[in-house]
Symmetry: C2
DNA sequence: CGCCGTATTGAGCGCTCTCAAGCTAGGTGG
DNA sequence: CCACCTAGCTTGAGAGCGCTCAATACGGCG
């Protein structure tokens, strides 16, 4: 079982490969042979990975599945902070407070790799190349999802679809999305209501830009989508 | 002149103090005595620090003054990405692309310390404590300014005023702000128009929450402001 | 003093929200 | 297998917040 997990394609490009005691993949760290992934964690749909005020100990790499992080606002609404897909890393936000500020739950059955932050720091210090890579990754996160600042609902939704298609590493077709989240989740992420999300998706379908089949969305006219995202 | 600069209070808590060849303050790095701040840069009001597509070489610590970073959208509007006050660090966003994505300009006459990123990496690798501190700082940035996601204009403006009052390290009174930016800048940052910013500030004044005198704003009722920011 | 950029204030419009009513798909039990 | 149930999605009507356009006021600076 673990063997099959470790041979998954996700591992090949994983930033944390040096943590993996996976000899077959040649990923063992020569300098720190004692460091390994603490454990794999299986999560059922809707299962919680961590909650606000939970102590921060680990970073997580998504191996399979999709997770979301969110805060609950004063009026009870969910403010979704991010969706996380395979190969993406979760947990940086909690480093400086030492405790999590968000909730993280699985949107689908998922498998995550748990990295002890203490081990992470040690390895980072011993391998300068990794340090450089991690700084790059974090820098990337500082710019990511800037489309949340776009003004119109249509712009944000177009950009969201493009973002998903670039991150959902579906085997064959980048233009066929299988949305793992509800319309309400999308709305809570883009600061829109579920009704507005639905209406705009419908309109895009009427205009032959996308085709909707429940959770399945086909991006028929990627160029037009890109133009909409950029404000035309 | 340089001496007086280096003795400023800003230096005392500067994360990059190890880069400073400032013996009097005891801040010289014993392990890397050759690393020093590359140079101080004086900027006049409206002077540019870097432009989009400029190659990324340096991180900057604001020593005196205020800067803003922004992108220009397709329709020509400025999308302001951040304001930077003394002791804050600028430049992380460009690490992963190797070139700047934003423009950075001074809102007031300013003085910034330039840190060569290569030196930064070297020092980071040699001093584990600094590495930890930097990761903390960056983690903090991932959460900062999350009030941009609040829904109502009033909420965002209230949160913006609170944020400024916590960062503008004015000598005496945290409740007296001297805004270095225009209403339009505030709007471009909070995704509002200058008119809306002006109207809401006026309303807050009518309700005795703040007192406005051009660029000077007094926070008369901080509790109420906090409540507004949190959505009540 | 007169000019010009910035700020304030007003009127009207449009996008997105709220509230509400169907609709669809999938699951459950008879 | 079908009737029913429920959660999620779609669609509609009306309201409100923030935008656009426009006029006026203010202040710094030559």
């Amino acid at each position: 079982m673990h063997n099959s997990i470790r041979h998954s394609s996700t591992c090949n490009h994983c930033t944390f490969a040096p943590f993996c005691n996976n000899e077959e993949a040649g990923l063992i760290s020569t300098k720190n042979p004692h460091l390994t992934i603490k454990q794999f964690r299986h999560l059922k749909r809707n299962e919680v990975l961590f909650l606000p005020k939970n102590k921060f100990h680990n970073l997580y790499v998504i191996h399979q599945g999709v997770l979301k992080t969110y805060q609950t606002e004063a009026d009870g609404k969910e403010l979704i902070r991010g969706f996380y897909f395979p190969s993406e890393i979760l947990g940086y936000e909690a480093i400086h407070t030492g405790q999590h500020l968000f909730s993280a739950v699985a949107l689908t059955d998922s498998l995550v790799c748990e990295i002890l932050y203490e081990d992470f720091l040690t390895l980072l210090h011993s391998e300068q190349e990794l340090q450089k890579k991690i700084l790059n990754l974090i820098s990337q996160q500082l710019n990511a999802r800037s489309y949340l600042f776009y003004s119109s609902a249509e712009q944000r939704i177009a950009a969201f679809l493009i973002d998903l298609s670039s991150r959902l590493s579906s085997p064959e077709n980048k233009l066929e999305l299988l949305l793992p989240m509800s319309r309400e989740d999308i709305g809570n992420y883009l600061r829109l209501t579920a009704e507005t999300v639905s209406r705009i998706l419908s309109r895009m379908q009427k205009n032959h830009i996308i085709a909707i089949n429940h959770k399945k969305i086909a991006l028929n006219d990627g160029d037009r989508l890109m133009h909409i995202a950029q404000g035309f």
